[in-house]
């Protein structure tokens, strides 16, 4: 997501209307409910929700955990854009002209109650692409005694995609995922590419063959909404295009993983640098001993007493 830094430094309107699309699974009814919340500078949408829950309506249900954009639990649709509630300031989404914050549960997910959505399908699809390092030698993977060697360039190939926090915002924004329940979704495909691009992964062909048979990757048509809403700049759109290009090259036998990371013993630790002798000096003509003996401008005793 491109952060609107100017908007985040603005002062929010003093009172905002928080409109929440609520859902009750017992009766199956859905309705919009409105709360007025007094704001303060730096207030996030999650803060507003917590204030509503504490002061107005404790039947309101939402999910959150870390409050700092790391756990990915508080994904919501704020003013028709999937965002993390804890990373979105009220000032970003509400203005004096329109002091309204509309909150909906994530699109394309099953709603359990109010703003809480079901991630079973999401994690099932994530699991389907085998998001872990696979080696031919299973023992080496399960009980490692040595390390994998990898250069910084090889790390840079997939590092960006490994930052995914599984918040589900990309799937909520994807127009293909909206209409096709069988599509694996940007998150799962990005994680597939993250392990295909990782040199430590040895059984990448297995993953590529799964994606080829499933055919799910060819349903993506680069609307790039996933990248536009991703709060961690993971860039799922780019990853899916690279994965598809890799798969096509693999199909016509042009792609081979050039290097598979080898197992190597841990790098030897460097010896700590030797301390300099007391008479050593970096600047010529300056004696360190003389500097130590100089009286400080403020006596130490005075500093300690005040």
């Amino acid at each position: 997501m491109v952060f609107d830094l100017k908007a985040a430094t603005r002062t929010p309107p003093k009172v905002v209307k928080v409109r929440v699309r609520r859902y009750n699974p017992e009766t199956g009814s859905s309705w919009w409910q409105e709360y007025e919340v007094e704001t303060y500078r730096g207030m996030t949408v999650l803060d507003a929700l917590l204030r509503v829950k504490a002061e107005r309506d404790h039947s309101l249900v939402f999910r959150y955990s870390c409050r700092m954009g790391v756990c990915g639990s508080c994904g919501l649709v704020v003013n028709r854009r999937p965002r993390l509630a804890c990373q979105t300031q009220i000032a970003e989404v509400a203005s004096e002209g329109r002091p309204v914050v509309e909150l909906e549960p994530l699109y394309n997910f099953r709603v359990l109650r109010d703003l809480v959505t079901d991630f079973t399908e999401f994690f099932g699809k994530h699991r389907a692409v085998k998001p872990y390092i696979m080696r031919r030698d299973v023992r080496e993977r399960e009980e490692p005694t040595l390390e994998y060697s990898q250069t910084l360039d090889e790390l840079a190939e997939y590092y960006e995609y490994s930052l995914c926090i599984s918040c589900g915002l990309c799937d909520a924004a994807c127009p293909v995922y909206a209409s096709d329940p069988n599509f694996l979704g940007p998150q799962a495909l990005t994680q597939a590419y993250r392990y295909v691009a990782d040199t430590r992964d040895e059984l990448w062909e297995e993953r590529l063959r799964f994606l080829d048979v499933e055919g799910s990757i060819f349903k993506c048509h680069f609307a790039a909404s996933c990248s536009a809403v991703c709060p961690k700049m993971v860039d799922p759109a780019g990853a899916i295009q690279r994965l598809r290009s890799t798969l096509l090259k693999y199909k016509i036998r042009l792609y081979r993983k050039t290097r598979i990371a080898k197992v190597v013993p841990p790098m030897e630790k460097r010896e700590p640098p030797k301390p300099l002798p007391p008479e050593a000096t970096l600047v010529e003509g300056v004696d360190l001993k003389l500097i130590e003996e100089e009286k400080p401008v403020i006596p130490v005793e005075k500093l300690l007493t005040t």
Partner: protein
């Protein structure tokens, strides 16, 4: 879906998400507009091809004069020429955007290199030259469409 006495609601946006880009806030995402237009023009082209086969079938069998008569219906302002004009606009956009999509989707070109996140956190695929190509496609197709309109309606 039923589970015990609870009913859980599906929140899927459905096909509307493909044909109405403003169903979500698409600020900073012109790719979504191009995607929607690509779908819409694709549907128009399928209809056009079907109509085209039906409408050219009889005159093509009936001989040269019938064919010339059919082709003459395309000039001047009437229902057939307006539909033809719309189909040609769809064709131009769909083909130009298709070239851009082939570059991006098959060859993974124009989407930058993976990089470490740093402010202002713009993903590389939204900074690559495919973004420039979108505007080129929009402008070029408008220009070519206008020229086609001139040829169809005014010449």
């Amino acid at each position: 879906m039923e589970r015990g006495k609870f009913r859980f609601a599906s929140n899927r946006l459905g096909v509307m998400a493909s044909f109405y880009p403003w169903i979500i806030d698409i600020k900073g995402n012109p790719e979504r507009v191009a995607f929607t237009l690509h779908r819409l023009t694709g549907v128009i082209l399928v209809g056009f091809i079907a109509l085209h086969i039906v409408s050219t079938n009889t005159p093509a069998r009936a001989g040269w004069e019938a064919w010339v008569e059919e082709v003459q219906r395309l000039s001047g302002v009437n229902l057939v020429s307006i539909l033809f004009f719309i189909a040609m606009g769809a064709l131009v956009f769909h083909s130009l955007n298709g070239i851009r999509l082939l570059l991006v989707e098959l060859l993974a070109l124009g989407i930058g290199r993976p990089e470490k996140p740093k402010p202002p956190y713009i993903p590389p695929s939204l900074k690559g030259y495919q973004r420039t190509l979108i505007y080129v496609v929009f402008i070029l197709s408008l220009v070519i469409w206008a020229l086609m309109g001139y040829v169809i309606f005014l010449m």
